[in-house]
Symmetry: C2
Subunit: 346 residues, 2 copies
Amino acid sequence: MPGVQTPTLRDVADAAGVHPATASRALNPATRGLVNADTARRVIKVAESLGYRPNPIARGLKTAKSGTVGLVIPDLTNPLFPPIVRGIEDVLEPAGYSGLIVNTDNDPSRERAQIETLRSRQVEGFIVATALLDHPLLDQLRREGVPMVMVNRRPDGLDVPSITPDDAAGVELAVRHLAELGHRRIAHLAGPANTSTGVIRARSFRNTVRDLGLDEDPALTATCSYWSEAAGAAALRSLLDSGAEFTAVVAGNDLIALGCYDVFAERSIECPRDVSVVGFNDMPFLDKLRPPLTTLAVPHQQIGAEAARMLLDAIRDPSRPARSVLLPLSLVVRGSTAPPGASAVE
Amino acid sequence: MPGVQTPTLRDVADAAGVHPATASRALNPATRGLVNADTARRVIKVAESLGYRPNPIARGLKTAKSGTVGLVIPDLTNPLFPPIVRGIEDVLEPAGYSGLIVNTDNDPSRERAQIETLRSRQVEGFIVATALLDHPLLDQLRREGVPMVMVNRRPDGLDVPSITPDDAAGVELAVRHLAELGHRRIAHLAGPANTSTGVIRARSFRNTVRDLGLDEDPALTATCSYWSEAAGAAALRSLLDSGAEFTAVVAGNDLIALGCYDVFAERSIECPRDVSVVGFNDMPFLDKLRPPLTTLAVPHQQIGAEAARMLLDAIRDPSRPARSVLLPLSLVVRGSTAPPGASAVE
DNA sequence: GACATTGCTGCAATCGACTGCACAAACCGC
DNA sequence: GCGGTTTGTGCAGTCGATTGCAGCAATGTC
């Protein structure tokens, strides 16, 4: 004998002696009021005893709701994203939703195709965490009224809700920390200029340096072409080669800071004696580095959770106005920052 | 004017002047042969020009196929899993499938509920990467003929296909490497005894030590209660406190090895001069540690990809016999291993 | 006691794609 | 020119749950 088929609504209705329509109404909290309380109770009990589980596919066909949302990220392998995804899932799941993840690898055409696939799968909304999403696509989704939330990136001029860490405040924390240690000539290895994050952090760096009365010197900023160790290393090398003098570095993110570590090893610069470094993101295991990296802790999981909540809100009430949330960061002070040592760089 | 509705099969059929049934057959490669070649061509062209995308929900209702599979993992936040998931998605996506991820946190009741949810979502199969899945549940799925593949874990006595790294060969590589450096007293910090991985690695450790004629001493093995830094540190402390003498440690995995680094710092033991350490998994950024950790590189992404391929095979042909695959590892030699130094540990 | 109201339940259509079956047209050979 | 195939297409039912509408009984009103 083959396994028992999972029971359908009809089975429940038959067992309870009612019509499927009645069973449907009894089981759905929103329509339960239409059914006699006793009948409803009976149906519910029967449903439980049979182990009935509504088939979301069938339901989705009629209601045009799939109970899924699309998660568009560049690459799950980047340690930034797993906690975000985890936070998202933790909110979606109790709400009866699931997330469908796609990796775009920051390839616009791939991204377009992926989004197309997700749409054909009838996702009810998107959480977009890619930096390079081209606006036409975004615009189009927006115009069609597809619910959407952006993560880690503020849409400029676009009416889309977003959840981002408070990058500006974070950079300010970092610079202030270095200033309190006594640093006056602080360099910045900025993230790519075509990412909102990179631009915002760089601007905040400039502002904070000015506000605190530190040495303002454009020559102390280098811009990385990618968010990567290699790019960070290259940027630091160019800064050193240019003869610029500084006693501390604010890196655009942790990967860029890791690139600095490589250059330190290359040129026997000792951190933090010769140069202090601050990262950004607090990736896992940074405390195991030598020296442990001072960095800004971003509440990634919370960001994901908040994004999911906002998306669910938007799905339930599409007319709800777009709201953007900045989440506060905290500075994690570790061994890579210290007062400027006796010997300066170079 | 609201956005144009996405076209349905009926729209395509009307536009092509045929019956929806004919359009369906023309669009489906498997049934296309039933349709006149000219008609088929015409339908396909119309479908393309309208931008028709079949609705997988509607299709799934009739065919009882959802185009989704369940990915059951303990915690996406564990750096082990993202590359595996990525490998899985990379295979599923071109096949028209999507993965639904659930995190069990190694909680059996949560796991049960999650799997139930996935089943009600009509997933066509499972890729299971949790260590603690209780057998009754597994057995039941198996009996009901639900396609399933296990990852990172060999099912003992269960007729389920699995993809695992060749743990035994990996440990052998590690021990052999240390032996070649001149180590004779090598300790092992084994993973939990209730995980197949922990047991297999420990057994291989014993075997290799014997085969190479190194010092066999049960006092040189400590078992960790979890795969974590804290447990690794605790195990190493207990080994040191017991007065055991050794010049190298084979850690059950990288986290346990990281725990060793903490203990080294605590007790001013210098690695690798005093003790060499080998990890397992090659998590990201281990090369940034001081000293960089020698470890075994596991082809996680490849494991995921292979698992997905096997699952798709099983879905297409459920009668296909269960096959288990061992993937080879490679030793990544970095700075944490060296010939035993002048001064031995305590 | 006639009639309106309320409350509950059943009927049947619907969502979009798939598919077994029937049927028409074309084609075949003799 | 007639039975007998192919070949191609259409019809209609199906998957499982939802929902507008109709109908029926109980209750209320005068």
